[in-house]
């Protein structure tokens, strides 16, 4: 299970966001370069979707098989400012793509996500803040030739693992962390867009001139 919020930021403010995150985290960023392949079952099979993530940031690419479940529903879920959903993941060998083709899955689409991430501990929850550009490939699997789908816009996502017995606390930890980022961007449940915040430009300018220097957590 995981809790997640998303928001967007103009690419020209990403450097300022990074300065803010460095100040909050105090640890170096992790580079993101992930080739994400979305596979769907063929017409003969029970309908299902699976994602294969190939981490290209390391010297030796590593593969993860990921299944994302439907968002939690109901009055309790509606009251949360974060989305809660079941997640199942497994590290796998490089034969993962051939394996899923072999059992009847087809490639629906693929993207390359590039950017960076920071890890935080807030109120006992392990938060990952990722700032990425989503890129499409002009030819099958041509990651070196990928181009941004939305030039000028980056996606910011905060995710945190959760369990049925603690997801409300995790949601609260994410919500409180979002406050630190509010001058630059607003984060909300995926699918509910809040657009670009009007204070982003001035907040970014302030961060760039001060170089960050904020250690809050």
């Amino acid at each position: 299970m995981e809790c997640v919020v998303q928001g967007i930021i103009e690419t020209l403010h990403v450097e300022a966001l990074e300065i803010l995150l460095v100040g909050l985290c105090g640890a170096p960023k992790q580079r993101i370069r992930v080739h994400e392949l979305c596979l769907k079952s063929g017409p003969n099979l029970v309908s299902s979707e699976v994602r294969l993530l190939c981490d290209l940031a390391k010297t030796t690419p590593s593969w993860t098989i990921r299944h994302v479940g439907g968002a939690m529903r109901g009055a309790g879920a509606d009251q949360l400012s974060v989305l809660v959903r079941p997640i199942a993941e497994s590290k796998a060998s490089s034969t993962a793509l051939r394996f899923f083709y072999g059992i009847g899955y087809k490639l629906d689409h693929e993207v390359l996500k590039t950017g960076f991430a920071f890890q935080f501990q807030n109120r006992g929850a392990n938060l990952t803040v990722s700032v990425t550009s989503t890129n499409r490939m002009p030819r099958l699997h041509a990651t070196d030739d990928a181009v941004p789908i939305t030039p000028g816009i980056h996606l910011v996502e905060i995710t945190a693992p959760a369990a049925p017995e603690n997801y409300t606390e995790v949601a609260s930890a994410i919500a409180s962390f979002c406050e630190y980022l509010s001058p630059l961007l607003h984060l909300s449940k995926p699918g509910i867009s809040t657009g670009i915040v009007p204070t982003a430009a001035s907040a970014a300018a302030s961060l760039m001139s001060s170089g960050g220097g904020i250690k809050i957590l």
Partner: protein
């Protein structure tokens, strides 16, 4: 990972496999000088079948009918899939079983456990076990896994494994067991596997061995 060979017991024509063979095979192992018992072992295999979108129809023929999953006794945090028809192996964390459950496109249809006793004999580890259908525990075969601890190269260990195999066959024959142990032969190159032994090699061995065990069991029933 160090090299393993996998053998199964082939009963003589017209004889029925019983648990007594397991006891006799263990007695053979225990007769080796300097051998020591080293606990128990258990591996589990699942035979998967595709779940068609229209469940009133049989599974389409273009979907694999030979997908198996294996949990190996010495790798409790991992799970391996083998598709013999496509010479394909997937090695993953054991949580991949949860992913497959969530996808619901393939379900486990029947299950086989390999379980028995483990012995240490010099540089060898011997694992003799029953091959049991789950859950009714019907005996389908007897297997023996032989591991040579000093080496990971299959080429370099070939001779010493062949010598062990001959020693074992002679010992079994001298005890007048009603059959013999047959080694599982696999062309690992077809699976994209090299000389350095890996869990993928073990998964392929079990995938081939179980086919022979089931065929042998069906023939003798």
């Amino acid at each position: 990972m160090t090299v393993k060979w996998l053998m199964h017991f082939q009963p003589n024509q017209g004889t029925t496999l019983t648990s007594q063979v397991m006891a006799e095979a263990c007695a053979v192992a225990e007769s080796f000088p300097g051998v020591s018992r080293d606990g128990r072992w258990r591996s589990a295999m699942t035979f998967y079948r595709a779940v068609p979108r229209d469940q009133s129809l049989p599974a389409p023929s273009d979907l694999p009918r030979d997908l198996i999953g294996i949990s190996l006794h010495d790798l409790p945090n991992e799970y391996l899939f083998v598709m013999r028809s496509q010479r394909l192996i997937l090695r993953a964390h054991s949580s991949v079983q949860t992913v497959m459950d969530k996808l619901q496109s393939y379900k486990g249809r029947f299950f086989i456990n390999f379980e028995g006793l483990q012995y240490k004999w010099g540089d060898f580890k011997l694992r003799i076990g029953k091959c049991l259908y789950n859950p009714n525990e019907a005996l389908r075969g007897i297997v023996m896994e032989v591991e040579y601890l000093p080496l990971s190269s299959m080429d370099k260990s070939q001779r010493v494994m062949e010598e062990f195999y001959e020693i074992w066959r002679e010992a079994v024959a001298s005890k007048l067991l009603a059959g013999q142990f047959i080694n599982t032969e696999v062309n690992f190159v077809e699976y994209g596997l090299g000389d350095s032994y890996t869990p993928q090699h073990t998964a392929v061995l079990y995938g081939m061995c179980v086919v022979q065990v089931i065929a042998s069991s069906n023939k003798n029933q």
